[in-house]
């Protein structure tokens, strides 16, 4: 599962731009993950602050 650390996230939207399944949305000041997430991990390497992680 993709986990979003809300305490780390700076709501910059960089992760949204790289998701190949368009599963992320920056809403106000938080990131929402939709059902389409394939847990590919691309967004986790793009997040500048390490707020995203794919967890087993």
């Amino acid at each position: 599962m993709l986990s979003v650390n809300r305490y780390k996230c700076c709501y910059c939207g960089a992760c949204v731009s790289v998701c190949p399944t368009c599963s992320l949305e920056l809403v106000e000041t938080w990131i929402e993950v939709s059902q389409g997430c394939k847990e590919c991990g691309i967004c986790t390497k793009i997040c500048p602050v390490g707020a995203l992680e794919v967890k087993a």
């Binding site: 939207g13 731009s17 793009i46 390490g50 995203l52």
Partner: protein
Amino acid sequence: MKYDVLVVGAGPAGSMAAKTLAEAGLSVVMLEKRQEIGDPVRCAEAVSKRGLKDLVEVDPRWIAADLKGSRVFSPDGASIVLSEEQSGGKTGYVLERKIFDRTLAMEAACAGAEVMVKTRAQGLLKRDGKICGVSAIRSGDTFQIEAPLVIGADGIESKVGRWAGIDTTLKPKDISTCAQFLVKDESIDSNYCEFYFGNKIAPGAYAWIFPKGEKVANVGLGVLGSRSSGIGEPLRLLQEFMKSHLPKGKVVEMDVGGVPVAPQLEAMTTDGVMLVGDAAHQSDPLTGGGIITGMTAGVIAGEVAADAISRGDVKRASLRDYEDRWKEPNGNKLQRHYDLKEFFIGLTDEDLNNLLHSLTNEDTVKMDLRDMLKSLLKLNPKLLWGLRHVIF
């Protein structure tokens, strides 16, 4: 609610498009999901003076620093000085974007555009297969806004293109992921922008110190997405850069974000939709600068959209003029810069050191980016052989 044109996103690109449309007498609405335009900042705020002066009247309220030039550092710490306006148009002014972005939005509003903040577009509306507006949400309430033409100026996270069938998803190798601190430190030179290159400092990109007044600067760095090896790499590397370059620096703000360093999109329009700014990957792949390019595209898109609406035809063929006018000179130049970026990211630290050292006896102060690349090519024909077609 019904308008001629709806703009999604109130960054520099969206505001310029909205202003241009309103000045042409069209009814236009601009949606911005943030509650405060321009905040939080996702930018190092440097622009070329000439580029800016061509687009807006310069206002001291949003100029944080007026620069003399820039200094470029190789991985081993050697440096050269380039004069103002001459490092890829990247130096000139450092802006205060919180004020700048808001001022541009206000100018659009004064020209007659309606601005809606804290309002997020969440999908395109279609009637008989044609785009006819967006569905939006404000403070939890969903509503529809009608317009035959939608301009996606929704920045790096753009959805408008993807909703309309233009794939704007960035590949990791085409995004620079960045972290930045606003730093107070006695060692900051208020007159020069500084660029630091090195595969350990900022893999596939560079670190910067852009002054914002007396002893204050944006200090940040980018990492090319495909070179980011771990979780939170940009922030970790920035903390290291601070330790080595500004150990006593006081951090008073933190900004993060991504910038497209991508090839030109094949399509920036489709029936009833135009994309501008970061949403259309119009930032410079070599420097990461996207303020001026986005504003330029906003103006062109606004002009073409106004014509299209007056003709009553918003099909792609009618909007193509925007893409053509963008391509020459802007798009073609940025595509060359993409090729340059692709080449430079393959260089080792030793290559970068050699390149910079080769320039130390040259009169770099009088050079612009193109002159500098030309001399580099002349002085390092073997190393830069792959670039001979790109530069000339």
